[in-house]
């Protein structure tokens, strides 16, 4: 090959690199390992973690320990899906494209919206992009966000807004839900969007219609963050007045994987599709009249519109969207509702039992789904540390996110938690 190129050595090919910029030493990294050694090494690292299988987890806060049907990973493991690039050549990418179209269809069904994009990085970035989109649609730049939204979603929004595209007003929560009156008061003709989530960070369910009317009266859009499992039983936000619906789609067949990759679900109304960020797949036909799918409305995107694009995003979480599509096909509407009902029933069972121990007290009246927040009568960290020793990840210490929430603990209960686990956890709490 060198001879054909007409050089003597590979180094000649790098002659263009200025002498002073050349790395004159080997990289200071370990030598390569054989696969046997490498597998050992990885197993030993993984063994230094306590996975969900090794402790009984009540952690939620946007990432949930749901059961993943075996068929999901069987599909995800097909190299034709996971070793493909973005489907820019539709003639040899129908698998990816159709799977995304089906995913988009399911997202529309769950959210009650007309259009879904092909997905974004995660719920938090979808939330921030929704605010930016609302600003483009309304040609306004102020957004009003409820403090009941996950703090990491709000922080992501603040980061995206920090370059000056948006002014963010945070409205304090009240009783574990948005303060509807205060939210409505904060909205003006300058407001591009009101942003809330239901369930909230505290697990509570919001009064979306009331919030919607406050936003719409002033011509602002309503952005609602949701939980896709609960959308199996809850009224879709699209039917309650939401203009953009976003969600963290991890619960739909994606492992927790230490919080990433997630799945940013993003859905909106057809009228606003030209302001939507991210890719979208559409159905069409080929020259022979066969049904086929393509990436469409591409002129919104960075590779064509460059600095005027709706976002700089240049990917989607296609594999996570595929997982969601397989998951929703596997469980169906009946199964999704059943899973949601199981989670809700178990969460309510645990909530009542924890309050019954006298160690926790109720602080919020609002209804909740499968996550709930209680006040611990004592020192939260010490309690969690003790229970960890007994094999339990005892909920989320909300004081670690915001000192005004000190003493509050948020528990998530999925369908994977058994009655026996709940009962033994309650017993441990009772003995604190």
């Amino acid at each position: 090959m060198l001879e054909r190129i007409g050089v003597r050595s590979i180094d000649d090919l790098f002659a263009v690199v200025p002498e002073v910029a050349r790395l004159a030493r080997p990289l200071a990294l370990p030598a390569g390992q054989s696969e046997v050694e490498l597998a050992e090494h990885l197993l030993s690292i993984a063994a230094r973690n306590t996975g969900a299988g090794a402790a009984v987890s009540f952690l939620g806060g946007g990432c949930y320990d749901h059961y993943i049907p075996a068929i999901v990973d069987a599909v995800l493991s097909k190299p034709a899906f996971f070793t493909a690039y973005t489907p820019y050549q539709p003639e040899v990418s129908q698998g990816t494209l159709q799977a995304i179209y089906e995913y988009q269809s399911m997202v529309c069904q769950l959210t009650g919206m007309e259009v879904s994009n092909a997905s974004m990085y995660d719920g938090a970035t979808a939330f921030a992009e929704a605010a930016l989109m609302a600003a483009r649609v309304t040609k306004r730049r102020e957004v009003v966000v409820s403090a009941a939204v996950h703090p990491e979603w709000r922080e992501t929004l603040a980061t995206y807004a920090s370059a000056g595209a948006l002014e963010v007003r945070v409205v304090p929560a009240s009783g574990g839900v948005s303060d509807v009156a205060a939210l409505t008061d904060a909205v003006s003709r300058r407001t591009a969007a009101v942003l809330v989530a239901s369930p909230t960070f505290y697990g509570t369910i919001e009064d979306i219609p009331a919030i919607a009317s406050g936003a719409h009266t002033q011509g602002a859009l309503l952005v609602v963050g949701g939980n896709p499992v609960l959308l199996g039983v809850m009224q879709p936000p699209g039917e309650l007045g939401a203009d953009i619906v976003v969600a963290e789609g991890q619960p739909l067949g994606n492992p927790m994987s230490f919080g990433g990759p997630g799945l940013g679900m993003f859905a909106c109304r057809q009228d606003h599709v030209r302001q939507m960020p991210g890719r979208v797949v559409g159905k069409t036909t080929d020259v022979d009249g066969k049904i086929g799918f393509v990436l469409t409305f591409s002129t919104r995107e960075q590779h064509i519109r460059r600095e005027k694009a709706t976002s700089n995003i240049c990917s989607n979480h296609a594999l996570n969207a595929l997982a969601a599509g397989v998951y929703l096909s596997a469980v169906g509407a009946h199964g999704l509702a059943g899973i949601a009902e199981a989670c809700i029933a178990k969460a309510h069972h645990l909530e009542a039992a924890l309050v019954g121990t006298g160690r926790f007290e109720r602080v919020f009246d609002a209804p909740f789904g499968y996550e709930f927040t209680l006040r611990f009568r004592g020192e939260v960290r010490a309690m969690q540390e003790h229970l960890l020793g007994r094999g339990f990840l005892a909920g989320l210490d909300l004081g670690a996110f915001d000192t005004t929430d000190a003493g509050l603990v948020c528990f998530a209960v999925t369908e994977k938690r058994t009655r026996a686990q709940l009962d033994s956890f309650v017993q441990e709490v009772a003995q604190l």
Partner: protein, 127 residues
């Protein structure tokens, strides 16, 4: 390809003036370069536009081009056909594919534009 009675600018718009109202569209060359037009974004009647500014966008599947006006004035009419049938821009760029009508605030701006011969010479130079 380039009707004699029209005026053209370097951004490939054409102008037809009747009294103080100018009708505007894009030239045969522009529509050919774009390929099949799939979307046209236009201002609303009543908007005012200024010579040199972008007043809209025209999109094909894989490209987007801004529309620049060579004249100033108030938009009095917008071609509603293009919302449902944007390909009319390709099929009949100087007829049914027109884009907006403008009441000129400075008719002298029209005099600055190229005639058909001048525009064709400009195209030859650009190629």
């Amino acid at each position: 390809m380039y009707p004699k009675e029209l005026k053209y600018d370097r951004e490939h718009e054409w102008i037809r003036t009747e009294g103080d109202v100018a009708t505007m569209g894009i030239s045969h060359f522009a529509q050919d370069q774009l390929g099949e037009v799939v979307y046209v974004d236009l201002p609303s009647a009543g908007d005012s536009i200024t010579a040199g500014d972008a007043f809209g966008e025209v999109e094909s599947v894989k490209s987007v081009s801004e529309l620049f006006t060579p004249v100033s004035g108030e938009v009095v009419e917008v071609n509603e056909i293009l919302a449902d049938a944007p390909e009319t821009v390709n099929e009949d760029p100087y007829g049914d594919g027109w884009m907006i009508k403008v009441r000129l605030s400075n008719p002298a701006e029209v005099d600055e534009l190229m005639d058909a011969d001048g525009y064709q010479a400009f195209l030859a130079e650009e190629a």
